[in-house]
């Protein structure tokens, strides 16, 4: 059975959010998007950051190793969705594009798996970056 979801943070004075005071509130969000796990590292959540980085980067690398496709342009709505998912990988995507990694066309079955791995890695990275932002603002307890 699944454990119950996170408790909702209390409102009003009880919800004093010391972490949201001062500094760049969006820094963990942006850093987490650019480099998987970096948002959590900035908040000194070393273990969580390392696990997130290993999972997301691992998934991205596995996708490339399976000859997955990196979306570079959008001809139809499915390509747009794939491109949005790929962009979630942040610098990993731009670096891979610069190094000309990833297949241009899906030619084997595993390349199709690889393409999905890369897209899902990007979407997971967005979730991880938003989690870092929630930790920073106090919406999620540190």
């Amino acid at each position: 059975m699944a454990t119950p979801p996170n408790r909702i943070a209390p409102t009003g004075r009880a919800a004093a959010r010391p972490h949201a005071q001062g500094g760049l509130v969006y820094l963990p969000l942006i850093a987490g998007w650019l480099v998987p796990g970096a948002g959590h590292f900035l908040l000194r959540k070393w273990g969580r950051g390392a696990l997130l980085a290993a999972s997301i980067m691992g998934m991205f690398v596995l996708g490339l190793a399976m000859q997955g496709k990196l979306y570079s342009n959008a001809h139809d709505i499915l390509d747009v969705l794939g491109l949005v998912g790929d962009l979630g990988n942040g610098l990993l995507y731009f670096l891979s594009r610069a190094l000309n990694l990833g297949a241009d066309q899906v030619q084997v079955t595993t390349a199709d798996y690889g393409t999905r791995f890369i897209v899902v890695a990007g979407l997971l990275n967005v979730i991880a970056a938003v989690d870092a932002h929630n930790l920073r603002t106090g919406r999620k307890p540190l």
Binding site: M1, A2, T3, P5, N6, R7, R48, L51, L52, A54, S55, I56, G58, M59, L62, A65, M66, Q67, V108, T110, Y113, R116, F117, V120, A121, L124, I127, A128, V130, D131, K140, P141
Partner: protein, 58 residues
């Protein structure tokens, strides 16, 4: 690299479960439990759906 379909499912489920566990729960113990739950659900659903498709195709 050309993993089998089931190996790909296991790799996918492991990576996604880690991220879901960390981001959806707030204490390490609950993160671990939820991660294991997600992994079991991913793999279990893949096996069940595979059998359903096998039986439909016969």
């Amino acid at each position: 690299m050309q993993p089998s379909h089931f190996s790909a499912v296991l790799l996918f489920a492991a990576c996604v479960s880690v991220v879901f566990g960390i981001t959806m729960r707030d204490t390490p113990r609950r993160m671990l439990r939820y991660g294991i739950y997600c992994f079991a659900m991913f793999v279990g659903a893949a096996i069940v759906l595979s059998w359903v498709m096998f039986l439909i195709a016969r």
